[in-house]
Symmetry: C2
Subunit: 379 residues, 2 copies
């Protein structure tokens, strides 16, 4: 049976990128790799919309979040964590692990922290050295208004640290214009690569904090060492260099489309996904939804674990379950990276069929038709 991976990371990888991964291994301290790395870092600056350096790390996205925390924040300092789900919580756990006081601004899962909440928290905690947030909260499908957050933090001493792991290249993200100080992403989401690499951009304001941070309390994730290697360019330790070479292929695809065109396409696909699920009577979980995935609640009597198992066993289609408190209650359909609008339609088609098989009253075709109408709108 044909298999379809429709999860919000790892995501499918374009065929030409996969073939690049099968090319023979080459030496990493070589002109060839320096050329590849220079191209990839330039293309990353383009997709991050930043003039600041983008640093590569060989780790999962969490490794890069750790790098942001340990480099920017000395122990005993304070950070405001905006928490709307599992990945906002990860920022808090990271602060805790490194002896940083985390002030939590929490909203129920499915909601997004509002700019006024951040303003109040900053007024209450003018000594906070950072605000940690998520562009797209992968656990709930909710987006944050990072542009609005940036307008608030830019005039404060606090750095704006953004987990854009499932957001970057899946929705609008203007690192410099929005005053994001450290923007973090991972390779296995909208960048269309397997997991193994993470990237982060660092603003001048963040470098000032990093240079002023007595330390390091890290060796592997020391961003000053990574910065020192940028001119070559090179990396302090052996990077996952065949992944870097393959990333070049995926990034060329994004370059060819143009990042603003990609954002517009993502927004349209996301709107269509919501329209499709809503036409089936399913409620979108996030009040302020992201463009890279859609999370929908199950109707009464339908367990998402059961639905997803059937979808996988009968149709070879892999969507993600809810995590933690919403496991069994929602499904998460990704539409980012190499998962395009037609793959999204396919996902809705699969869900329709399985809901029907499970005895839920749905009119077959209603969801895909509604999604398709939305895709065709204003054309």
């Amino acid at each position: 049976m044909k298999q379809r991976l429709l999860t919000p990371g790892p995501t499918p990888v374009p065929e030409e990128t996969l073939l690049d991964l099968a090319r023979p291994v080459f030496y990493h301290r070589s002109a060839e790799f320096r050329q590849v790395l220079a191209e990839v870092l330039a293309d990353l600056q383009y997709v991050f919309c930043t003039k600041n350096p983008v640093l590569p790390l060989t780790s999962s996205g969490t490794g890069a979040l750790e790098a942001a925390i340990v480099n920017c924040l000395p122990p005993g300092s304070k950070a405001i964590c905006l928490i709307a789900g599992r990945f906002g919580e990860r920022w808090r756990s990271l602060c805790k692990a490194f002896g940083i006081e985390a002030v939590s601004v929490t909203v129920p899962w499915g909601q997004s922290v509002q700019p006024e909440q951040l303003s109040r928290a900053l007024a209450d905690h003018p000594d906070a050295l950072a605000v940690c947030t998520t562009l797209s909260e992968t656990s709930t499908g909710a987006a944050h208004d990072i542009a609005a957050f940036g307008k608030i933090t830019v005039s404060s001493r606090a750095l704006l640290l953004v987990d854009a792991i499932s957001g970057l290249c899946a929705m609008e993200c203007r690192t410099d214009d929005w005053h994001i100080d450290v923007c973090v992403t991972g390779s296995q989401k909208a960048l269309m690569l397997p997991p193994g690499l993470a990237f982060l951009s660092v603003s001048d304001k963040a470098w000032k904090a990093i240079d002023g941070n007595p330390g390091p309390r890290t060796f592997y994730f020391d961003l000053k060492k990574a910065r020192a290697k940028l001119e070559t360019p090179d990396t302090p330790y052996t990077p996952a260099h065949t992944l870097v070479r393959a990333l070049r292929v995926s990034l060329k695809r994004i370059r060819a489309e143009g990042i603003e065109n990609l954002w517009a396409r993502q927004a349209r696909t996301a709107a269509a996904a919501r329209a499709g699920f809503q036409a089936l009577g399913l409620e979108v979980f996030a009040k302020q939804p992201a463009d890279g995935l859609t999370v929908v609640k199950m109707p009464p009597g339908i367990d998402s674990t059961e639905l997803l198992t059937k979808l996988e066993k009968k149709y070879g289609m892999k969507l993600a379950n809810g995590q933690d408190e919403i496991k069994g209650k929602v499904i998460r359909l990704a539409h980012m990276g190499y998962i395009d609008q037609f793959d999204m339609l396919t996902g809705i088609a699969g869900v329709e069929l399985v809901l029907k098989e499970m005895g839920h009253p749905v009119e077959a075709g209603k969801g895909v038709a509604a999604a398709q109408r939305e895709l065709a709108r204003d054309m």
Copy 2:
């Protein structure tokens, strides 16, 4: 021109492993991945020669060295670092970064630390909580007598932490029999995979130290979290799972040969490489050489940077230069993983030709013939 990668990491990857890397991406929280990971971890226990768990990390080898240090050693504690080159020095740098007092036992590059030196250091520093050493010092090609070190540390309170990054599967390494408490390796050496993964085994004695270490002072490299996921098996954060899947293919190759047969083959290849270079009048740099690479000094008037550039440009053959203080003075030829005895012969053939071109008096064929005689000895 045909390209040949003969460097001590990254090393060439078998074709069937490369093809595995081109397979479509799959979901990492799935029965399929758990099955793959379980097989890989079992095969790693086999190649480590350990009954203890082997933990996977998505990082370079240095990340796993950091994991060993931060998990086993609280700040303010003391470790003895046995330093015979760049990677022994890395242990010391790691200790320094994390506020651990490093007692250095240093020998000149090319030599190996002797067991008596360790005994004396331990007698002088009975409060040392760890001894950090390298199985194969990749910068010099020297080996350490880890079996002898283990006989000393086993009856002390100190843990034996071994960087076996370029040693494991390139030469004999019996983790349990030799009383290695934490044995570290990386994916891009004798395990025949691109870089991106690292692995470490942890003994009961090391777990006791880790459990007693107030902390964590790490999040990403927290070994207790990794241990908690072993039963599934799973990983705390998204692993480079397509690399794990491909590692299964490379490990099956090692399983099929048998680890002791592999060690014997490696020892024979290394002896042949030394015989070949010596027949050309080149001196082996390491007094106590490792089996996975051979480092030889350049004759007077020959700069290794120039030789290696010619070798690469004219013959497509990539060997490694010396690092730091011996850059330009030695060449490093790897013969580990997928670089077998015939590839080693090829490397010597290339060096012979280029030495001749550079005006050095060598008798063409003398090196390869001597190496070949050694390969054929006792057959």
